[in-house]
Amino acid sequence: MQHDDPQQLLTWLPRLRRYARALAGNRDDADDLVQDTLERAWAKAGLWRGVADMRAWLFSLMHHLHVDGHRRGRLNIVALAEGEALPEQAEPARQTEGLALRDLASALAQLPAEQREVLLLVALEDMAYADVAQALGLPMGTVMSRLSRGRERLRQLMNEPVLSAAAVAGRPTLKVVK
């Protein structure tokens, strides 16, 4: 793909959304993150030509925005763009796969964000470790240790006794007022 192709953000959009959804845990926050990422990418469009790996660059923008958002804490704001319906608050569990996937989502949400990022870039994007290191601005060793700890932690969480339904439902899919 041409690095200065003006259509390319549309091409990346589904993958940015997939990663953001997994990272943020709900549709609103995820799409806000994607929108901020796209706007940042356009603001820096002058740099595209010099970007060697557009994917790593875009995910890097998203990473920084996500970190900034985390630092500020979450807000009880739902911004409605014109004509959009009220956002759904909960991720619908897929009928067939059922509880196992929902457990995975809740286990994932319990991982520290830094481990979640590495894990998701590798799992969803099949990103080479070196590209993960570039996107997140980390040394390779840190990428590997976060991947290892993240996978092991997720494994432990998934092997824990099944949570009560109330505990699963109590997972903060609604935005928390701080």
């Binding site: 003006p6 259509q7 953000l9 549309l10 990346w12 959009l13 589904p14 993958r15 959304r17 997939r18 990663y19 959804r21 997994a22 799409d31 806000d32 994607v34 929108q35 901020d36 796209l38 706007e39 356009w42 603001a43 900034d68 958002g69 500020r72 807000l75 009880n76 704001i77 739902v78 911004a79 409605l80 763009a81 014109e82 004509g83 959009e84 009220l86 608050q89 897929r94 796969e97 196992a100 996937l101 995975l104 989502a105 994932l108 998701l120 590798v122 799992a123 969803l124 099949d126 080479a128 470790y129 590997m144 991947l147 290892s148 996978r151 997720l154 494994r155 609604l174 935005k175 007022v177």
Partner: protein, 283 residues
């Protein structure tokens, strides 16, 4: 298998790299041989492989979702920033002032410019645009950004309250990093509106624009509370608009409209809006 590799210790990182197919082929095979004699390790890695597949199963459906319009717009190619800002600024001024000649040229032939301009004057969107225009016009002014400065806050409140026929007190936003500079009275769509101006430590301006002339359209009957999920109070949901570099957060509550405008990020505005709303509700 090269003999010198056979005894190379297998690291944790290599096990992951094996799982993710990121090792040279020869080393991949060595790791397989290594795992063949270590069932516990093999089981652990099988779990990891299962995680990877499950994550894909959980999130791959997002790839096929229709993206919301706002994201398609944000991703779509756009004009160079200078053209975009100029066009956005022009649209703002036209809608904000309702200048007849401008409206006509901006509308399709035969459009009823006056009716549209009137509708724009009463609609929340028209309100938000006027707030953005007022911000753009007054915030760069170093010497006369406000009519009455913060040193005369009492006077400012009294004056604006009297002119608007309702209590008008500037929200306090020190905790958000904004100090009150003062305020002014401005013409709105039909009557007066109040504008409070703030600045942060670096001199960046933020304005709070308050109107009480918004009609029943888009009005809320009951005041809502900040702790309630927004879905329970759709009529006062915060809305976000971007006009060039200027971001506007606005909401409508009964006849009242509030717009927070700044050349600042969405999060900053959301934060300030939350605080302004909180102060209004607790008044």
């Amino acid at each position: 298998m090269r003999p010198e590799d056979a005894d190379t210790p297998v690291t944790e990182a290599e096990l992951h790299a094996w799982l993710d197919g990121q090792l040279p082929a020869a080393r991949q095979r060595e790791i397989e041989a290594y795992l063949a004699s270590r069932p516990e390790e093999a089981a652990r890695l099988a779990d990891y492989r299962g995680q990877k597949a499950a994550l894909r199963a959980l999130f791959d459906p997002v790839l096929d979702e229709a993206a919301p319009a706002r994201l398609l717009r944000a991703a779509a190619p756009r004009q160079p920033w200078y053209a975009q800002r100029w066009v956005a600024g022009l649209a703002l001024l036209l809608l904000g002032t309702g200048a007849g000649w401008g409206m006509r040229s901006a509308l399709p032939a035969g459009g009823d410019a006056t009716a549209l301009a009137l509708a724009a004057a009463r609609s929340p969107e028209g309100f938000a645009r006027r707030a953005a225009v007022a911000h753009a016009v007054f915030s760069p002014d170093q010497r006369r950004a406000v009519e009455l400065d913060a040193a005369h806050e009492e006077q400012l409140s009294t004056w604006l309250s009297r002119r608007m026929g309702a209590a008008m007190r500037p929200p306090h936003l020190q905790a958000q990093g904004y100090a009150l500079e003062g305020g002014r009275l401005l013409p709105g769509g039909q009557g007066p509106v109040a504008q409070f101006m703030y600045r942060d430590s670096e001199g960046r301006k933020l304005t709070v624009y308050v109107s009480n002339e918004l009609g029943p359209a888009g009005a809320a009957s009951a005041p809502a509370h900040a702790g309630v999920p927004a879905s329970a109070m759709p009529t006062t949901a915060f809305r976000f608009a971007r006009e060039g570099r200027v971001n506007v957060f606005y909401w409508v509550d009964g006849a009242y409209g509030y717009a927070i405008t700044a050349d600042a990020g969405r999060q900053v505005l959301a934060d300030v809006s939350n605080e302004v709303y909180r102060q209004l509700v607790s008044e």
